[in-house]
């Protein structure tokens, strides 16, 4: 099976699983699935950014742009329908990423993730300080659910919407991945100097991955905002950012299934151990360390095995 079809299968299976889980699961389970679906959008869009070779730490702050767009645009004086505002939020996030790509794409490797870290923090501080627009530290509350749903307060219907958005974005990112541009982005990610020497415009391709990945973050931010009914700077926290990065590190980013499985792993830890919330960070930490070290060890073993059998 080609890589493209495998990725398509992954997102479709995930979308279907969310809906099926929603129909059979309890009321609480619905909420967990909605969060999982929205976070899946985050990790999939994040994966697209990583294909160009840079690990951004501004993803969650850029997600905040989507959230604030929905909060502001869906309320008077704009009064846009929530879904329209969500799409607009995605576009604003992409636009911001385009502006941001000028300073941050000048940096590579460690410097890239430190500069995106700084950019994300600066953006979060802007959400806090520009109170007239963003409501300061309290944020903006009482955001409506999408009117397009027959019963906006139904979590099940919202879950179906999330699953649909997830599948659509998944198809989009999978097509990008398989396209000519996607292959070039990966080439740039692997060896920028070599790619440039054969006439690939590395800068434009890296910017493209960053912008399109940020679009997904903006959409996810919009969904979070309308689901929670509130956006506030405290929601844009390092914990969520670490979760997204950890999901990608644990699962690997070669295929779509990696980050999703990584996220599933982290979500299961949180849900299983929620009866002892004070220990969750430690359990999270221990499992993440084990997963990373074990993954490294297993990869090493695999290489040895392949070399022996080659």
């Amino acid at each position: 099976m080609s890589a493209f079809r495998r990725d398509l299968m992954t997102v479709c299976a995930l979308g279907a699983a969310l809906v099926v889980g929603g129909f059979v699961g309890s009321n609480y389970m619905l909420g967990v699935l909605v969060l999982f679906g929205m976070t899946s959008i985050l990790v999939l869009s994040y994966r697209t950014i990583t294909t160009m070779g840079g690990w951004s730490f501004a993803h969650i702050a850029i997600m905040g742009i989507g959230g604030y767009s929905v909060a502001i645009l869906s309320k008077p004086p704009f009064g846009l329908p929530v879904l329209v505002a969500t799409v607009a939020g995605g576009l604003f996030a992409a636009l911001f990423a385009a502006l941001l790509s000028y300073p941050v794409l000048r940096t590579r490797q460690y410097y890239f993730f430190l500069s995106t870290f700084a950019a994300g923090e600066a953006l979060r501080q802007c959400f806090i300080q520009f109170r007239e627009i963003t409501g300061g530290t309290s944020g903006i509350a009482f955001i409506e659910r999408p009117e397009i749903l027959p019963n906006p307060s139904s979590t099940l219907e919202f879950l179906c919407l999330v699953a649909a958005v997830l599948v659509l974005l998944g198809i989009f990112y999978a097509s990008l991945d398989a396209s000519d541009a996607g292959l070039k982005i990966k080439a740039v990610g692997e060896d920028e100097a070599l790619s440039s020497s054969i006439g690939i415009d590395a800068w434009a391709l890296r910017a493209l991955a960053f912008i399109l990945g940020s679009f997904g973050a903006g959409i996810a931010g919009g969904l979070f905002a309308t689901y929670n009914g509130i956006v506030s700077p405290s929601d844009i926290n390092a914990m969520l950012m670490f979760k997204v990065v950890a999901a990608c590190v644990i699962g690997g980013t070669t295929r779509f299934s990696g980050p999703i499985l990584g996220l599933l792993f982290l979500t299961l830890i949180e849900e299983i151990f929620r009866v002892v919330p004070e220990f969750v960070p430690m359990i999270w930490g221990v499992f993440v360390i084990i997963a990373i070290l074990f993954g490294q060890w297993a990869r090493g073993r695999l290489m040895v095995w392949r070399a022996k059998n080659a």
């Binding site: 941050v104 410097y111 500069s115 670490f242 990065v245 930490g285 221990v286 360390i289 070290l293 490294q296």
Partner: protein, 287 residues
């Protein structure tokens, strides 16, 4: 005058914390997220020493013992970290970053279980205040300034004059070249991590008495330290000193003149600006 002294003491806080990180990040190009937790452990070790020993030997001696214990414990942790994570994950800086982040959660939870989530306070071993023409400088702050100066100067001498220091610099500048010269980079990495971690521990001992100690005290400080070493230029001790001074003065003046709430925004913006204009930092050499 008071403002000047405040600038000086804030600079020493920043420098003290950034030094160990500058060493580890500058030489090995890895981000040890648990560096802040080593700093915290140093402070707790000092707390234990002062609260148990100071009735017998007096505050300053107990503090000095605490600082030594702190350096030893964190140095050991640095060694363990090197063995268990840095070596196996050698070529994957992100995996190291995430696993040291995970380690920092583990350390925090353990400290919460032992000492409780409510912060503690170290009774200041050195009381009293020094007067400088109407302005004051508490003795415990003088200690921090002293520790920062000694650490910075000591580190500089060590890197410039000793054989081990030369090897460390060689690895920092060009790991592959150093390897070809017969330098065992893994050994150098181990030494660097032990040294950097011990500095974090000593710093925790120095800062403990003038700040609240809590299981989470390291995480907040780490971010500022990164900004300082980036702005100062990686692998450059004098760059770190200069950047610490820049932020020491800038932050003191901003608090003084009513812009205290914009501190985090300015720091992040300065870092972003420096990285995009001159990624090697204000005082760093081009890589």
């Amino acid at each position: 005058m008071q403002i000047l002294l405040n600038c000086l003491s804030l600079t020493s806080f920043y420098l003290c914390f950034a030094l160990g990180l500058a060493l580890v990040f500058g030489v090995m190009r890895i981000i040890n997220f648990a560096h802040g937790e080593f700093f915290m452990i140093g402070a707790y070790a000092t707390y234990l020493c002062i609260s148990t020993l100071s009735p017998q030997v007096g505050g300053p001696v107990a503090w000095a013992i605490g600082a030594i214990v702190a350096a030893a414990v964190t140095g050991l942790l640095g060694l363990v970290l090197h063995r268990t994570m840095v070596v196996p994950l050698g070529d994957k800086p992100l995996a190291i970053f995430i696993s040291t982040l995970a380690l920092s959660y583990v350390i925090q939870t353990i400290v919460v279980q032992i000492f409780g989530p409510v912060g503690l306070s170290i009774a200041p071993p050195m009381r009293g205040v020094v007067n400088f023409g109407g302005a004051i400088l508490p003795a415990s702050r003088l200690v921090v300034i002293g520790v920062a100066v000694v650490l910075a100067a000591g580190l500089w001498v060590f890197l410039m004059r000793s054989e081990a220091g030369r090897r460390i610099r060689a690895v920092a500048q060009n790991p592959r070249g150093a390897l070809l010269q017969g330098i065992r980079t893994e050994k150098v990495g181990r030494l660097t991590l032990i040294l950097g971690s011990s500095i974090a521990g000593i710093c925790g001992a120095a800062m403990g008495p003038i700040s609240q100690i809590s299981p989470y005290m390291g995480a907040g400080t780490l971010w500022k330290a990164f900004i300082i070493i980036i702005v100062g230029g990686i692998g450059n001790i004098w760059g770190a000193v200069a950047a610490a001074a820049i932020f020491g003065v800038l932050d003191t003046l901003m608090s003084q003149f009513g812009a205290g709430r914009f501190l985090a925004l300015t720091s992040a913006a300065v870092m972003l600006f420096v990285l995009s204009v001159k990624p090697s930092g204000l005082f760093g050499e081009k890589e």
